[in-house]
C-alpha cells in the first residue's frame, strides 16, 4: 500500500465515523432531556457532520468523488466507520457513554494529527481541535454527574459502559496502511492512540465511580473499518440519503 492509499484509508475512516455518529446524535434533536441539552447535543452533532464534510473534501482533492456523492451514494459495505458509531441511540445513558468514549478517541486523534506531515490534514486538525475539546468537556461533565448521581443513574451508566466497551475498542482496528502512515509521519497509529485514550478516560471513569470492564472480557468489535457492519447501518444510510435520492442532481 503506497502512502496515498494509506492516507485515503485514514481519511475515509475518520470522515465516515464523524458522519455516522453525527447523524445518530442528531436523532436526539427535539427529544433531548432538557431544552439546553437538546440544543448542545444537536449543535455537537452538527459539528461532526461539518467535520466529515471537510474530511471528504480532502478525499476529493486526492481524486475521490465529491462530499455529497461520498456521503449519500455508498452502501453500508463501502463505509469505514467503526461499528460503535452506527449503533442505535438507545436511551440517553448509552448515547452519552458512546459520546464520551468516541469523542475522547477523536480528540486525541486530532491532537496527534496537528503535527501530521500531511499539511492539509494537520491544518484541519488544528482548526477542529478546540471544537472537539468542548465535546469531550461536555461528555466528561455528564459522565461525572451521572456516575456520582444516585444509584439508578450510576447503574445505568455502568451498564451502558459495559455494553459500549467492546465496540469502542473497535475504533482502534488497525488498517493495512498503518506502517506506511507511521513511516511517513502522517499518523501515529491506532495502537498508540488506544493507549493514550485509555490513559485519558480511566481517571475520569474512576472519578465517576464507574469501572472499565475486566480486561479478560475485552473483545474488540472489529470489521467496521473494512466494511463489515451491523444491521443498523444500512437503514441509517437509507434514511440519511432519502432526500438526496429523490433528485441527486438538485442544487440546494
Amino acid at each position: 500500500m503506497n502512502s496515498i492509499e494509506a492516507l485515503k484509508e485514514l481519511l475515509y475512516k475518520m470522515a465516515d465515523d464523524q458522519l455516522i455518529i453525527g447523524h445518530r446524535n442528531s436523532e436526539w434533536t427535539g427529544i433531548g432531556p432538557i431544552l439546553e441539552e437538546d440544543i448542545a447535543f444537536s449543535s455537537m452533532a452538527q459539528d461532526k457532520i461539518g467535520q466529515s464534510e471537510h474530511l471528504y473534501n480532502l478525499l476529493h482533492q486526492l481524486g475521490e468523488s465529491d462530499a455529497d456523492t461520498l456521503a449519500f451514494t455508498r452502501n453500508a459495505d463501502q463505509f469505514h466507520n467503526s461499528q460503535l458509531t452506527e449503533l442505535p441511540i438507545g436511551e440517553y445513558d448509552f448515547s452519552l457513554i458512546r459520546h464520551f468514549l468516541f469523542d475522547f478517541a477523536e480528540m486525541l486523534r486530532f491532537d496527534g494529527l496537528r503535527n501530521s506531515a500531511y499539511m492539509p490534514l494537520a491544518q484541519l486538525a488544528k482548526k477542529f481541535y478546540g471544537e472537539i475539546k468542548y465535546h469531550t468537556m461536555h461528555a466528561s461533565t455528564w459522565v461525572r454527574q451521572l456516575g456520582q448521581g444516585n444509584e439508578e443513574s450510576k447503574a445505568r451508566m455502568q451498564s451502558a459502559l459495559n455494553e459500549a466497551w467492546n465496540y469502542a475498542l473497535g475504533i482502534f482496528e488497525q488498517g493495512e496502511g498503518e506502517t506506511v502512515l507511521q513511516e511517513e509521519k502522517i499518523f501515529e497509529g491506532e495502537a498508540s492512540l488506544q493507549e493514550k485514550w485509555l490513559n485519558a478516560i480511566t481517571p475520569i471513569l474512576e472519578e465517576a465511580g464507574l469501572s472499565i470492564p475486566d480486561k479478560s472480557t475485552w473483545e474488540p468489535k472489529n470489521g467496521g473499518r473494512k466494511g463489515y457492519h451491523t444491521d443498523y447501518l444500512q437503514p441509517l444510510l437509507d434514511e440519511m440519503s432519502e432526500v438526496y435520492s429523490i433528485d441527486p442532481t438538485a442544487d440546494w
Binding site: I34, L35, E36, E37, I39, A40, S43, M44, Y134, M137, H138, T141, Q145
Partner: protein
Amino acid sequence: MAEENNEKIDSLDPRIMRASLDHSDIDPLESLDQFQTFEVFHQAKRGAQHQHVGIVHAPNPEMALLYAKEQYARRGVTANLWVVPSKYVFATSYFDDDMFDTTPEKIHRDPATYKVMDKIKEYKERQEA
C-alpha cells in the same frame, strides 16, 4: 439572604400570615426538583466587559457553563463566559421605578454633550501655529 429569611415566615403576603394556615400537611418542594437558573454573561474579547445575554437551566455551575457555551457562544466571537446563580441577583423594585423618572432630562450628565473635541482641535491648531 432572602431564602434564609423565608424559613422564618410563611409568606410575604400579610393576608396569608393573618390567616394562620396549617402547612404541616404540605410537602415542601425538594431542592433541585427543578433545575435552578443561571444568568449568563458573555465577553467578546479579553479586557472587554462581560455583557448579560440571558439565562440557562442547570443543576450546577459546571453544567451551566457547558450550556452557556452552546446557547450563547455558538455563533460569533467569544473570549470568556460567566455564569451566576440567578438567586444571587438583587434588583430594584418596579414599584420604585419613579426614582428614575427625571434621569432622561439630565443630559448635562451625558458626556456626548461636551464640546471637548472642538477644544482639542483648537488647542492642536494653536500648537501648530
